[in-house]
Point group: D2
């Protein structure tokens, strides 16, 4: 099978650190077809020497690289490096690359939360480079586009935070809801738990089953709270309950807020907020977005409801956790950082059925 035809343009040389998880294979799927990218290196301490396509057979004939042992010199020869590593790696390794002029996009949580002690509480480890936290730009393009363009270090948002923030932000920016009592009831496919051998995500455990988890507290709570509070201009009160649903990909956030009396046309508010956004689709009034309608696509589909004409607004927000919730958004950020058209390489149409 043939490689994507090379275009007659300079290519961005890309490195990936830690590409053996689902975020990694999804980055590879998208970058292998990205017309402006040259895949330079992909590292994995545990799988060095294994051809990428031996682990991920969908990439056979399309990605010829093998995983290599971590190699700072080789990574430093890249224009941009994606960290698709567990939490706590990028904070130790990014500085050296940044110093050598490499741009860095971290798909883990190391640089997402500005309040370092708060981060340390939720992630259970001391932070290795608090200074970089301050320098990092939060990579939610719809609300941070200009800062991302100039960024050297981007903190790619979490999957739940992407779906929840895009859903709530129009309401909070417009100041039409009670910011003190937000509810985010979120449902995630199992790939959100990563490609780790664990009992509770076995098919025989997670199929034909539904459950909430981490109700007492989930690490994405402070990240969402930080983003929403910034837009609201004050601390928000948020109850966030994640659930595991028996599907592979997809997040569906069902968001509840209390209207504060201001008369507002919610449909117009959402359509205006996201007018011109290539990756947010405000659906017609009365719609119910399905996660499969964004399967494999870098799209967030949103619908806004006011059931029974009451004072509760219900927002439905659906993304593919591995694309708009991870790899696709990371490439969107890369496109912005390198001045490419925003949709380059991430305009694939969702696979339905």
């Amino acid at each position: 099978m043939t490689q994507h035809p090379a275009l007659n343009q300079t290519r961005i040389k890309v490195g990936i650190v830690g590409g053996t998880g689902y975020t990694g294979v999804e980055l590879l799927r998208l970058l292998a077809a990205h017309p402006q990218v040259e895949l330079g290196i992909i590292t994995s301490r545990g799988d060095a020497g294994t051809p990428v396509a031996a682990m991920f057979p969908n990439l056979r004939g399309r990605v010829d690289l093998a995983f290599t042992a971590p190699d700072t010199a080789a990574l430093a020869a890249c224009d941009v490096v994606f960290f698709a590593t567990p939490n706590g790696i990028a904070m130790k390794e990014a500085a050296e690359l940044l110093d050598k002029g490499v741009r860095v996009i971290d798909l883990a949580a190391d640089f997402r939360i500005k309040d370092v002690p708060e981060w340390e509480r939720w992630y259970g480890m001391p932070h290795a480079s608090p200074a970089l936290v301050a320098a990092a730009v939060y990579g939610l393009p719809e609300f941070n586009r200009e800062a991302i363009r100039g960024a050297r270090l981007v903190a790619n948002p979490g999957c739940y935070p992407t779906a929840v923030q895009l859903g709530f932000m129009p309401l909070l920016r417009a100041g039409v809801v009670d910011a003190a009592s937000l509810v985010a009831d979120c449902k995630s496919g199992v790939s959100g738990a990563g490609r780790k051998a664990e009992v509770h995500t076995l098919l025989a455990e997670a199929a034909d089953n539904f459950k909430a988890y981490a109700v007492p507290g989930h690490r994405h709570l402070p990240e969402i709270r930080q983003g929403l509070s910034a837009v609201a201009g004050k601390a928000v009160g948020l109850t966030f309950v994640p659930h595991l649903t028996p599907m592979i990909r997809g997040i569906h956030a069902t968001l509840y807020a209390r209207l504060t009396g201001t008369s507002v046309d919610l449909q117009v508010l959402y359509e205006r907020t996201y007018a011109g956004e290539p990756f947010v689709d405000v659906m017609p009034a009365g719609s119910h977005p399905e996660t499969r309608s964004v399967r494999g696509a870098n799209t967030c589909r949103i619908a806004v409801h006011r059931p029974q004409g009451g004072d509760t607004v219900v927002v439905l927000s659906a993304i593919d956790n591995l694309v708009k919730g991870a790899a696709g958004q990371a490439i969107h950020n890369m496109n912005l950082m390198f001045g490419l058209p925003e949709t380059t390489g991430i305009d694939g149409i969702a696979l339905l059925p």
Copy 2:
């Protein structure tokens, strides 16, 4: 294969009207193994003549009946008749059976809502027997046990209403939450949509997918509101959002309410409310009930949380929509009506994995 051994006791002669749906086959599965029941007749206009076990091969060797055309005389010879029909049938046919001394348990919605005009709005048809609505007893045993014992006509609760009411009622009866702003975010397996040929519930449409539906209004809303308002002693405000999740059986209700300042030990409140109840399991503090833990069982498992010590209480309530949410609860009602031990025939253990 052999029939369940007959016990040396009088048996209740049971008829089923409309047994070709999932509620019907589940009634048959449970009744065929019920030691005090004799299955007398099962009717289906469309499938008269078809052996039940030809449609439902799990019943081969266990149910020898064939579907017969509707036959009031034969039904009148039963002690109790279950209506597993679409909405609008039982309200036309129950009166004649009741007049002949047969007890009736309707698994559809015809007798659930006391406010007949409200029922007519939601169900889009005139009610054929408003007088029976007044006479019917709502069959939620945990909150209506004594009335059920003496009932001649039982309105078996809907699946969502069972999960939501059992979850919210302790809070409302204790008066510790703001009854004006309840949120019920509910997720159902696909069998809840019934055994009807429809595109949106095909495996190729509903698998690996998640969506909300009927956000503007669902027929179970007035039923839930009626039950919660009765317990609260005042009209409640409820936002109810149902979702379709890619599994066969199970409902998971995630319930949100605002505590009103009263100091209350939520765990104790729930444990006391359901102490001695054979079919409600209050799990230890910190638990997350899974729908599979009740798959095939007549159990509602509940956990109560107060995330981050805030003023929002989160209740998790899981049932099998076809058992505690339909056929199992109907048999529980039958056991009560006939003075049998409550757990007779419905004490099967959930199938896990």
Copy 3:
């Protein structure tokens, strides 16, 4: 969201008849991103007036067409028309389009079987245009490439026949197995049954379940037999058993044949047969292709085994039934008919996980 950028080349104007099924939406997904195609018209008698993207939300922002009533004049203005209709439609409507110089690719079965009485037996209707059957070219590019290039009417192969023929043909062409006793044990995802409201393909029926069907005889049997016999140079004996497996997309064919004593390096035979083929991937010896490794891709992955060194060869062949088994292969045929590079528009990478 933006349309795929127009390339500076003449485009092929495409029409689709009957685009409301899974083959239709998959054609649309692929054609909407095909750089040399202009979607001209898509017809549906039942859904005329409905925007395509209202039925298939994955196409929102990418396909602006609405379904229109069948309209021969408008179709005649196309360069090529795909029939994604039920069996029995194209045989009535293709002739008029062909007469007007339009090329036709039928994704149904109307032109696949050269023996018209045989076709009529299996499909239960008289054939409306036997002359076109003779003229039609069977669109399996790997074995019919040159004829397809010059074809005006292509019969696109069935999904099972694609997987089975690509798997068996190297053995039969080499004459190394007993052609009289072939076994094809095939497993299909549920989308193969189409987007029709039927009980047996509901999620609640087909999930967590596995069954064979049509063991006495399936319509794809004569199609497979015809293709294999042509390659073998004699009538083959084939037992073909299809099964329904609880997944959305994918066919896995497990093929059994008895080696006839000739010494042969099976791995080399397969690699040579498919060397240079862009859409057949012969995996390394010892491999087990997974259907997900071709999910959404126009690829057939094949592995060949000789268990325990015995005289039975086992071939494993995996495709996406909607892509290589339908829409993707149809576009491959179109590319050949119009002299485009074969992989144009169908080089997407499979979605894994």
Copy 4:
């Protein structure tokens, strides 16, 4: 919730070694409701101290035991001990229990294969007690009932071997097929892989996917071959290909054999073979058994076909791998060993849908 009411009869005291896997929880589900059983002890080295119901919430209120550390004295106080351990444990620990008069049923593979060197090749370890292999009785009741009644040590058959042997044995015993070229194409749900944390059985890997595995050789091959050869009276030739299908429970074996010319009424042959068998259901001619029709039940459903009237017979055989393929069959063996009615405690009806 209440315990199953004690019957007024002597109970069999049961111990389980290694109950933390799927075979263990299924034994517990069935034994907890078995009217003649008293659960005495369940051991687990790794989870000693954990209440069984904390690991398996379906057992809350029904099993009060906690896992205990292995304890030969306590086990020796039981009437029968089930080993639900990995391969290689029972062969070390059974002898001591047998010496103390305890009966032993091993659900692993330690005593299934009479040819010890063959066992050692396939299982990759030396056998610790070859003498017990000779003494052990293979626990397939339909073909070994009398020996099981008198057994002190039973080797419970594997899941694939149960489905394949029950399907093939009537043909081989009647001598109507070519025993040299049998094909068993088998499909298993994921619970067959056990409750072990492994990547390839994660939901995100195994859902919406289908693949063969172990085509070069699977450990159940020698076990099946041994059983079939004994019935055939000569060594059989068998190609056995297992597949992983995205469901939780169930095995479907599709079996192919060549008829040898003898005229035989296959339907009558199967019905006669299994007449009176409580756990084998020969379905009517033309049937296709579904795995869900035996979900949770100790039943094997079989259909026999002769497609197109040719000389290939196709047998379809479906079981629940955890019940008839493991725990249910083990209890059937226990019932036989203790003189109970065979169906006691294992007459539950399959859960459908």
